[in-house]
């Protein structure tokens, strides 16, 4: 059995060593992004914060307070895990991450309410767990507002003798109908995953660009030939992006409401810009690993700098200006919108135009890099010709060949 396992491992190592680039390409464009999409989709399939461990201090213990707590416990959002006697115990549970929310009902709550003394319910949220707090605060407010409306109806009907037909208008003089457009469930998964998965694929795009740029760094080819590997990896990257995001749609029910052909073109343009960026980096530095590192360091922070999680409008003006020059700023926003908003082709036109401009700038930059590299190469040839031309001729070895070797070594 062990020998058999060893044989399999040996064959795998042998294959991996013979075809390292194929294995890495499969890993980068297929296995890692798709596996990440599956894992993260499975992890976040509940969509929103639910069953938040909640601790209660009920110092009142009236029917009214128990009814209120029943409402809280029956909601999907909260799970009352413990009733404690004092504030310190509740805080201790939050301190030890056993509870993330607490409800404190004061003594004589109901009798104070009846006597018109305006008692107050205190709620505590663990601010360190912000993704939970922002959701649970809204849920708690909704529960309490429902209860308050019922209470105010009693006041108006009992003390003010308002007829039942009118009472609702006086209890709620202003009714606000809140429509959460496009993602009504406030899904954390919908908020996070599209852009984060795109962030994973963009690492593959940048690396493949850097690798291609590095390989062509020392070869002399017409300029237009440089566009071929960029095109090649952009197509592969587009397919990988669509497959990775498609997993969310096929398996985890994420909607896609926008114009898909438009999104495919947009994804391709985005892939061009990131592969192009990697290609430029790969054309500059002599260290292959450093090319990959540098291109990744350039693109990885853009998942945050692009305003995907922390909004652009909240950033300092200088960072906003930088962010407006980053492809991910436009792609991250669009990838989320195309899933949830009925975006049409023309809605993406400005973003597409940005990608085209960005890519043209990259091509100009690449041309300059190549000219600069050729200049370096030329000066080295001249230097070599000057110092060792005679010797090499005598030895019957072409100077160009020597130059190539020298440049390769350098």
């Amino acid at each position: 059995m062990r020998d058999r396992l060893n044989d399999v491992l040996l064959s795998f190592i042998f294959f991996k060593t013979r075809h390292p680039n194929l294995v890495m390409s499969l890993l980068m464009f297929l296995i890692i992004p798709v596996a990440s999409s599956l894992i993260l989709g499975y992890e976040m399939r509940t969509d929103v914060a639910s069953r938040i461990p909640t601790v209660v201090i009920n110092n009142d213990n009236s029917d009214f307070s128990r009814t209120f707590l029943d409402y809280v416990n029956e909601s999907e959002t909260f799970d009352i895990i413990s009733y404690v006697d004092n504030y310190e115990e509740a805080e201790d549970m939050m301190f030890h991450d056993k509870a993330f929310a607490a409800v404190v009902i004061p003594e004589n709550f109901y009798s104070d309410l009846q006597n018109g003394k305006s008692p107050v319910i205190l709620t505590l949220f663990d601010g360190a767990q912000m993704s939970v707090v922002t959701y649970s605060k809204n849920a708690m407010t909704e529960i309490l507002m429902t209860l308050k409306a019922a209470y105010m109806m009693n006041i108006f009907e009992g003390k003010q003798s308002v007829v039942p037909e009118q009472v609702m208008h006086q209890v709620m003089p202003i009714t606000t109908v809140t429509r959460l457009l496009y993602s009504p469930t406030r899904s954390l998964r919908n908020f996070l995953l599209p852009g984060m998965l795109a962030g994973i694929v963009q690492v593959a795009l940048a690396i493949s660009g850097a690798e291609a740029g590095f390989k062509k760094q020392k070869t002399r080819i017409p300029f237009y030939m440089h566009s071929l590997p960029i095109l090649h990896w952009s197509i592969v990257g587009t397919a990988s992006m669509l497959l990775t995001l498609g997993v969310q749609w096929w398996l985890f029910g994420m909607p896609h409401r926008g114009d898909m052909p438009g999104f495919v073109i947009f994804t391709f343009l985005y892939s061009l810009t990131i592969v192009g960026l990697g290609y430029c980096i790969g054309s500059i530095f002599p260290d292959r690993a450093f090319c990959s590192q540098a291109s990744c360091i350039l693109v990885l922070p853009t998942t945050i700098l692009g305003g995907y999680t922390w909004p652009l409008i909240a950033m300092p003006p200088a960072i906003q200006a930088v962010a407006r020059c980053l492809p991910f700023t436009y792609y991250g926003d669009t990838v989320r919108n195309v899933f949830f908003k009925p975006l049409q082709f023309h809605h993406m036109a400005d973003e597409m135009f940005f990608m085209v401009k960005f890519f043209v700038i990259e091509l100009v930059l690449l041309a300059l890099i190549k000219l600069w590299k050729q200049g370096l190469h030329g000066s080295r040839v001249t230097a070599l010709n000057g110092s060792a031309g005679a010797d090499t001729k005598a030895a019957g070895v072409g100077t160009a060949e020597n130059d190539k070797t020298e440049v390769m070594q350098s």
């Binding site: 060593t17 509940t46 301190f95 205190l122 601010g127 959460l180 496009y182 409008i313 909240a314």
Partner: protein, 394 residues
């Protein structure tokens, strides 16, 4: 080939030798400075928000004024039809809108109950929650003031009316991060990622180099040199660990002094956490460095770990929301869980050992198990490669 002394090497050669140490030391500091600055404003304010007031009565204008007074909103009243509003929402020109219909003020005046519509773009969780919360507060306040007028008109004293309206109110307190600042919430997680990624950028490469040299020595059966090679790898990993720890402490200080991040927790516990995490990540470096043959491929692979590791470690998506099996798997295959969550608890909550002990012990067990697995894999891999006689040079 004879090796030149360091002092006689050229600038580029010197740079290549010290590059790993520079990465481990500077990357966390530079990224802490950058992201601290990015999230420095702490709160989301000035969110583009439209108001479409079709009524333009005194009551509706007072509601509109409340929106103008709230710094969360950056109000525009440029839209004159609901279609225009919807298009602006679709284009993300605005993130929300309030529509006040005609007759709003009149309905309130005549106690018929008025209705206003709040539209919120729900795709951005951070923004939509903020908008909804503040819009609800503004309308609740406006409603309360109208209710008080109704009650006073119905023979209640102003005090009684106020008490009735303000009854059953919630007072909300956010403990440990009172203002719900995003920087306070996210930075411990990001710092963990910076430390992890900078270490992974260099340590697995050192393992690969050692693997390569040991393989050659095995062919020569030179056990003395093999021991030396392993000792050299250990020294390198320790040097990375030392630099990483200094960088980690400096990053925390930068966060505190430059961006007002709370600096709680004892230094001993902060260091203990780092110590355990470095053992864990060193073990993972040995595993990764053993699996891969080429340094460049390790660099590429480790870059992919950034996003999945932070999203699965229970930092943003808490453990209680995961299935039990998933949580067990996450805690068994990657150590970030044992680092970023207790780090957040230390820095924000001033946690003591009792709070973080489960993470510390979990991290120690993780490190011990994976270190054994790593060493076992390393030993087997070197033997296998010797059998295969594969050239490993990049």
């Amino acid at each position: 080939m004879t090796q030149q002394p360091f002092s006689k090497l050229g600038f580029v050669d010197k740079l290549l030798i010290v590059k790993p140490y520079l990465i481990v030391f500077f990357i966390p500091i530079l990224f802490t400075l950058l992201f601290g600055y990015v999230m420095g404003p702490v709160y989301v304010q000035g969110v583009p928000f439209a108001i479409y007031d079709m009524d333009n009565s005194e009551t509706s204008r007072s509601v509109v004024d409340s929106f103008y007074d709230c710094p969360t909103f950056k109000i525009t009243q440029d839209y004159e039809t609901t279609d225009q509003l919807e298009e602006a929402l679709l284009q993300s020109d605005i993130y929300g809108a309030v529509i006040i219909p005609e007759g709003f003020g009149n309905d309130i005046q005549n106690k018929r109950g008025a209705e206003a519509t709040v539209l919120v773009d729900g795709t951005n969780f951070q923004i939509s929650n903020n908008l909804q919360q503040f819009a609800t507060t503004i309308f609740t306040m406006a409603g309360a003031s109208i209710q008080m007028k109704y009650l006073e008109a119905g023979e209640m004293t102003p005090k009684q009316a106020s008490d009735s309206v303000l009854s059953l109110n919630i007072v909300s307190r956010n403990v440990y991060n009172p203002g719900l600042g995003y920087i306070y919430y996210l930075m411990p997680g990001l710092l963990g990622i910076f430390i992890q990624q900078s270490y992974l950028a260099v340590a697995p490469n050192a393992v690969i180099e050692t693997k390569r040299s040991i393989r050659k020595m095995l062919m020569l059966s030179d056990t003395e040199k093999i021991r030396g090679s392993v000792a050299s790898l250990t020294e390198q990993l320790l040097a990375f660990a030392g630099l990483s720890t200094i960088s980690y402490l400096l990053s925390i200080l930068i966060l505190h002094y430059s961006y007002g991040f709370p600096l709680n927790g004892s230094l001993g516990l902060i260091l203990l956490l780092q110590f355990v995490f470095i053992i864990d990540i060193a073990a993972m470096s040995i595993v990764i460095g053993t699996i891969f043959e080429m340094g460049v491929h390790v660099v590429q692979f480790t870059m992919f770990l950034t996003v999945p590791s932070i999203l699965t470690c229970g930092f943003g998506w808490p453990e209680f929301m995961m299935t039990k099996l998933f949580a067990v798997i996450v805690k068994s295959v990657w150590p970030l869980y044992y680092y970023v969550i207790p780090l957040r608890n230390l820095l924000l909550k001033d946690a003591d050992f009792s709070v973080i002990q489960s993470y510390i012990f979990g991290g120690i067990i993780f490190g011990a198990v994976w270190m054994v697995i790593g060493c076992f894999l390393f030993y087997n891999k070197v033997n296998m490669l010797r059998k295969l006689n594969i050239a490993l040079d990049d």
